[in-house]
């Protein structure tokens, strides 16, 4: 009787261990995938603040470049060719008009969205400047200006 009980207990323990190890592996795989997504989002955040495609100097995004990218019909596809698929960026100035920039309302706008989709994403935000090429329009002059903005870069978790 004792042997039967012991064998039964050993079986229970072995099955339990298998379940535990499988669960552990699944959890580790999910955590690794999540870590990779976060690392990619951080990498893209750094890329956007330094890549000449977006900035006029490090940490200062150029509003003309952003508007051009946002209004290009295949702007997102071109960015995905460079930086990979399933990511987005959003820039919003903290003061001034919050309308999305297009060819018709530039420079009276303050928001740019590239590759934005309605899907779950891991995103990070970062304080940046936006170089407004036509920041202050005077009677006889147009002055550039650096505005405060918030940059959000995210990776869709598929």
């Amino acid at each position: 009787m004792e042997y039967i009980m012991m064998i039964f207990l050993i079986m229970v323990v072995v099955v339990g261990l298998i379940v535990l190890l499988t669960g552990y592996q699944i959890t580790r795989a999910a955590a690794d995938r999540s870590d990779r997504t976060q690392d990619r989002a951080l990498f893209l955040l750094k890329q956007v603040t330094t890549h000449p495609l977006f900035v006029s100097e490090e940490g200062v995004l150029d509003d003309a470049k952003l508007t051009a990218l946002a209004t290009l019909p295949d702007g997102c596809a071109r960015l995905e060719d460079l930086f990979g698929p399933d990511w987005f960026l959003e820039v919003e100035t903290l003061d001034g008009p919050g309308a999305a920039c297009a060819q018709t309302n530039y420079p009276a706008c303050g928001r740019w969205e590239l590759c934005k989709q309605d899907a779950r994403a891991v995103a990070y935000d970062l304080p940046v400047n936006v170089y407004r090429n036509a920041g202050t329009i005077l009677a006889r002059d147009v002055l550039a200006r650096r505005d405060l903005a918030i940059l959000t870069v995210g990776v869709y978790g598929r």
Binding site: L20, Y24, D35, V128, A149, I150
Partner: protein
Amino acid sequence: MDGNCLSARRRAQSSMVMLVLAIIIVLGMVAFLFGLARTVSSAEYLNLYAHGLVASVLKTDTGYTEAPCKTVADSLACAYLTPSYICGGQETCADLADRMVNASIGRFAERKESLRYLLTVEPEGFSAIGGEGVTRVELGELSLRKLRESRISAAERLTGFFGGQPYVLTATLVLVVR
């Protein structure tokens, strides 16, 4: 060897095996729980955020077009060197720097709740103690100066010319994000 002795030995062996199995189960559960408790390090992001915040605030234009007051960095240097200088005939450098830094970082604090800050501007490498005039410009929560734990700091160098003289100052931002 009689039956009772044999039975006692078997019970002892069974107990040993059970004990070993119990230890294995406990170890398995500990490993499982460690797997669940993900250790996502946000230190890299917070560091990046603090550096981005101090750099972007310093580069922001104040609205004045003349050199000592054009950017927040200019106004901070002016607040250190000649705090009573009047920008555009309206406000002193010290007031402008205070207003701009509070407004700029305040905007980010609205988005990140419980963001507390202290921005310090002082000469690079040394600071005068007990002398006349401004030895250090401090904006924000002064209590963060003494806080040693759970704070992030980022520094930027301010260089330029003021009244024909070159200056090198360090702006250090201390952030506490809960």
